[in-house]
Amino acid sequence: MDELILVKYGEIILKGLNRRLFEDKLIKNIRIALRGLGNIKVSKAQATIYVTPMDDQVNISKVIERLQKVFGIVSVSRVAKVEKDIEEIQKAAVSYLTPSFNQYKTFKVETKRADKRFPIKSPEMSRRVGGHILSQVSHLSVDVNHPEIIVHIEIRDTGAYVYAEKVPGPGGLPVGSNGKATLLLSGGIDSPVAGWMIAKRGIELEAVHFFSYPYTSERAKNKVIELAKILNVYCGRMELHIVPFTDIQLAIHEKCPEEQLTLIMRRFMMKITEKIAVKNGSAALVTGESLGQVASQTIQSLGVTNAAVDLPVFRPLIGMDKEEIVRIAKRIDTFETSILPYEDCCTVFVPKHPNTKPKLSRILAAEQHLDAEEMVQKAVEGTETIVIGE
């Protein structure tokens, strides 16, 4: 009896001719995710990915933990592989699953016969394996409607597989199967979640962070690098662009009306990000904005910032409450880092009474006082790029 892991993927099967492409991407991402865990074979057959430890050194629990963070995976099961022989399967069902049985009283058996050459049909398989379990494990009884534990038997071309647990994966699509986008990563709670949600739809990410030294410290930068590293676990290799932003903030502060500071600043961020995005082949920008959360995220403000760029802007958090965002941030492990208090010396640049219903024409008029193009160009040229992962 060998132990291995079966990985199921849902959505990508629906993608018709692209299916192969998606599958190959997923396998590649799985291989990257499992780096450093030992000698592991990753292969696919019959709409299932087989993750097989090649020696005893591999820690299967760790493998499962990593797989649970690979987008595109719907479920992960730790299974026993046996000969396609009814007696072997019966034996394995009892010996392999006995530790799991201890916690439960009722069970049922479900059989999937993908290999139609196997002579015993699914219902009969279930009955015979169930009967054998009943005869060997005295405290169990069968409950077909509400079993506490389900024993899965899969008869496949490659062998027969027995398992009881099915841990959920993150769902979504394999990263890199759906193009690339550039995320505005601030270091707060929202933007890492926004990045995670877009990456979940198969998008490869690059990130841009605006650095206002000495108004923010080197620690604030380290915090953003830390967040990018957490995202890296889900999103794979990522380039993080650190844009020097102080000069732009000072110029805006000097030359534009106070109540417009934040919006003009946001527009500059969007313009710079778009420039970087075009350079790196991104087809969209991603922000952590959520409608009405702060003055710069009212429907009017979003209109004004949106008008700064031509590329589509994805705002996956747009309809979410703060609590919902926090819940995801906690689940993906970015929350604790996001709330580290290493920033906010920027209060100098925050107007006391920001405009919540800005007019684009007025903002554009205010921007006339600035040489926007040159400022953007200079910021892009001064950008430092850090590769996260690899």
């Binding site: 030294y213 000495p214 000072l250 209060t347």
Partner: protein, 387 residues
């Protein structure tokens, strides 16, 4: 190329080269466990003995009264918790001040949860404890009075003799603990002079290594250990000794005290020079905790009104000048300095307060460079004050 001017010596100091050499020598050649019976152990034990003598000599006490610890924080914990545990039967009242270091304040907070009563004595505008209040608070239930010698944020020196006199006049049996972490090597004094029972020291504030400190316990004073194990440090602090750290501490004390007067006058002159220059060249500055003759020679706390301290810190950093806002241990928290708040300093002053702290390594040229950069930065930053 930027020069480097390190003016954050109250946070930590650069080790003396001799300290580093001495420590490397221990790690490379004399790595034995002092508890081992063989020669390697005895070598290490002798090195510790020598360091203990150096510290004792600096304080003019017996070497049997010095107990090594993992640093100032642990020394404070040992003194305060050790005293509280040992004197439970005599009383449950403890006295300290509102401007102590977190390693003292948080230890007292813990003891409050454990059922002790703690009085926190307030301070005046210069950071000196209110002696009248102290006198009123001490009762026959009081078992400990714990005060810092020099405040780490503003440099104010506490009236240790007056405090001793009050304890005596009240005929109190309370133990007298002094946190001397900022004053050791900066102010010449002995525990005996002020009738101090327990005194905390740290190595890395006087060019020694981090992770090394000591507690002086006057002979005859009994406190309870807070770490249990193999009975090292005469049962006062179990755990295999940090031999290299202890040796580094001893070496640092030797060098500092051999050149005491010179070192202190260098610090004092440079500090006064900086203060003068700042007052001379800049507007809207306030010196916090200034009090003639009551200030440590190495700490200058200045508010540059209208400028966020942290912004100024980073702007100075970009010029190679390293300073501090409040105390380094609390810079990660958004709360303003508890010391300045306790002194009744106004919020704009607290938010713009920067600490310059000197060592004997600093030069007059350092100060000139600092003032020059400071003036330029202040001028630049004041342009962008929140409108």
């Amino acid at each position: 190329m930027n020069r480097e001017v390190y003016l954050d010596n109250s946070a930590t100091t650069k080790p003396y080269p001799e300290v580093v050499e001495g420590m490397v020598e221990m790690l490379v050649n004399h790595y034995g466990n002092p508890s081992s019976l063989h020669m390697k152990g005895i070598e290490a034990e002798n090195a510790i003995k020598k360091a203990r003598e150096s510290i004792a000599k600096a304080l003019d006490v017996k070497s049997g009264e010095i107990f090594f610890a993992s640093g100032g924080t642990e020394a404070n914990n040992m003194a305060i918790r050790g005293c509280a545990l040992a004197n439970k039967k005599r009383g449950n009242h403890l006295v300290t001040s509102t401007i102590e270091h977190p390693s003292v304040l948080n230890t007292f907070k813990f003891l409050e949860q454990e059922g002790y009563r703690v009085s926190y004595i307030g301070v005046d505008r210069y950071g000196r404890v209110n002696l009248k209040q102290l006198e009123n608070e001490i009762s026959d239930q009081t078992i400990l009075v714990s005060v810092m010698h020099v405040n780490n944020e503003v440099g104010t020196i506490q009236p240790l003799q007056e405090i001793r006199n009050i304890i005596d006049s009240k005929k109190s049996k309370a133990l007298y603990h002094v946190d001397a972490i900022q004053s050791f090597g900066k102010i010449l004094f002995t525990p005996v002079q002020y009738g101090i029972d327990l005194l905390s020291l740290s190595a890395h504030k006087l060019h020694g290594p981090k992770g090394s400190g000591a507690l002086y316990v006057r002979k005859g004073v009994r406190i309870h250990p807070i770490v249990f194990g193999g009975s090292q440090e005469f049962d006062m602090r179990s755990g295999t000794e940090n031999v290299a750290g202890i040796v580094g501490f001893g070496k640092a004390a030797e060098i500092t005290f051999d050149n005491f007067n010179h070192g202190v006058s260098v610090m004092d002159e440079n500090k006064k020079y900086l203060e003068e220059k700042i007052k001379e060249t800049m507007d809207h500055v306030v010196i916090n905790g200034w009090c003639d003759g009551q200030n440590a020679p190495h700490i200058l706390n200045v508010s540059f009104l209208g400028i966020k301290a942290e912004v100024l810190l980073h702007a100075l950093e970009a010029k190679g000048i390293f300073v501090s806002t409040g105390s380094a241990c609390s810079s990660n928290k958004p709360s303003p300095s508890h010391v300045l708040a306790a002194m009744g300093i106004e919020k704009p002053c607290i938010e713009s307060a920067v600490r310059f702290s000197f060592s004997s390594f600093n030069t007059k040229e350092d100060v000139d460079y600092c003032v020059e950069q400071l003036a330029a930065i202040i001028k630049q930053l004041r342009k962008y004050v929140r409108r």
